[in-house]
Subunit: 229 residues, 3 copies
């Protein structure tokens, strides 16, 4: 996935990414057997665990820094780092039969990195309940608390995610890239700094060819032709 995202980041023809899964689960996160097998290492697995956690956290942040929006199409259970993956995506569409959990607490390993993404998507008490009980929540509850955008009939989640992707792919890829980057940067700033920063972003965006074309097309009541610059 890291390599795929690295390739996509440089690929100008890809405008939106839909992240989906085959098989019975969306993602259950780490392979526990693989982790446990390294307890026999000279350092009891510490170096390996660190490598795995750093890699996982790095992939989640790649989604945030990717120029293209990423939409999760969740067909089934998303747990632990799999739930984190959904929370890390810009948008998410879930099947009515999808379920979500951060169950690490049940196996003695708290979902501490998943909670970074989770707690930036949903309210504190909702996050705390998922993290402390480890219980599954329904797609409907996930939508209610803000973990996913839409809940759709089972089997249509990929199609609905693609519809959403196509809407976004009709926009200027440059504009979308500018906006996505600015979103995640400004959200970590105090208000005054966020306004200084985004005001600058909008001035540069205004001077881009695609804004000139988009505004002209809007005034002339015609469809814009994006050049991506």
């Amino acid at each position: 996935m890291r390599e795929a995202l690295n390739t996509i980041a440089r690929e100008r023809l890809v405008q939106v990414v839909v992240l989906t899964a085959n098989g019975p689960a969306f993602s259950a996160g780490h392979d526990l057997k693989e982790l446990n097998a390294r307890r026999g290492d000279a350092d009891r697995g510490r170096a390996y665990f660190k490598h795995v956690m750093d890699l996982c956290s790095s992939v989640m942040q790649q989604i945030i820094t990717l120029p293209q929006p990423v939409i999760a199409a969740v067909q089934a259970t998303a747990t632990a780092a799999g739930c984190q993956l959904v929370a890390s995506c810009d948008l998410a569409v879930a099947s009515q039969s999808a379920k979500f959990a951060t169950p690490g607490v049940n196996i003695g390993l708290f979902c501490s990195t998943p909670m970074v993404a989770l707690s930036r998507n949903i309210t504190r008490k909702a996050a705390m309940e998922m993290l402390l009980t480890g219980e599954m929540i329904s797609a409907e509850d996930a939508a209610r608390i803000g973990l996913v955008n839409h809940v759709v009939a089972p089997g249509t989640e990929r199609e609905e995610a693609l519809k959403l992707a196509k809407k976004i792919a009709a926009k200027s890829p440059l504009t979308v890239k500018i906006g996505k980057e600015a979103f995640y940067r400004q959200i970590e700033m105090p208000l005054a700094e966020a306004y200084r920063y985004t005001s600058e972003v909008m001035v540069e965006n205004m001077l881009a060819r695609d804004a000139e074309e988009g505004i002209a097309a809007f005034i002339e009541k015609r469809d814009p032709k994006w050049e991506g610059r």
Copy 2:
């Protein structure tokens, strides 16, 4: 609007502001024709765009720093900087027929300053969907995600906003001023610092004449007489 807010900030007799609009829209934000006309400037409009963005961001922050609460009464469509205006108000009442969007992405100019206010009002995925698709959301959805407080029958939004304003106008204006200022300051602080700061605010508030009067009136089961000091 900047001048009106500057005047209101010094006006002791104004206790609450209701922000409303005439005409078919609440506000559509910037005048695109006016902006585009400056592309012929020697600097391609850069200085003018900067002036406009700084002014807009400054007015939004004036609402936050105004001593009096500001209630948006949204009768119709609020888009781009118009949607930002609603998000920037302390409270908002919307007609069932009001609609909200950040459609800059459709014209190649991402709603980067509007997202500062939007992303501080609603969850990330809800904000991202509005920003990336540019689509309208209903008043009902706006209430569900936290962009407005109440949705009311069309034509009654001004009256309902005034009712809310009158409730707040019955409080001590000094107390409201202290509280509003502290709200936006503490929200940007880490928890321990926020408690240190607001504890000090409450001690000073406790020593004000209006707190002495308010607490005495409460104990004596009579209506308080505010002096605004």
Copy 3:
């Protein structure tokens, strides 16, 4: 309460705390008569008010830093610092007849410290409405905005809170302690720092005996035996 929490923090056999109240209210916060009686002090009560505010803020932060999760079981009205108490708990279960308010504004003393907890649980406009109007909200509304996790039939809130507590008490107390502490620390960090910090937390958690046992039990499809180390 400060002393009780200090004792509980050192008590290894206590795994979860359920905070509940006797009498007609959950908590109405400060004793206004007691506060007002100190206006006759040489400093008009300033030192005493400061002592009371610091103590209150300190108890709220004790709940956050307590190793064990704290669940509020709210049987009736929770106002001012009582509402802050609910907001400060990790989880909350409320009776259908419970009500919530931050009514300080009605007596000239804005709920400035309560808003620290409140504004970190619910959206800005919902918080602002409670703070500026001082009005009661229902348990149902409290659940909708994220102030409480569950609303249950009157008289069953303590039982339901205990059920939730028992679920959490079945986990490793070490894991829960690690997770709760990391939750409140990471939530105040920028994203990259939060990932660096929680990745380290998970590596240490992975090396603990309870994670080794929990993962082994999961793989072997048996119940884990926690040792709390």
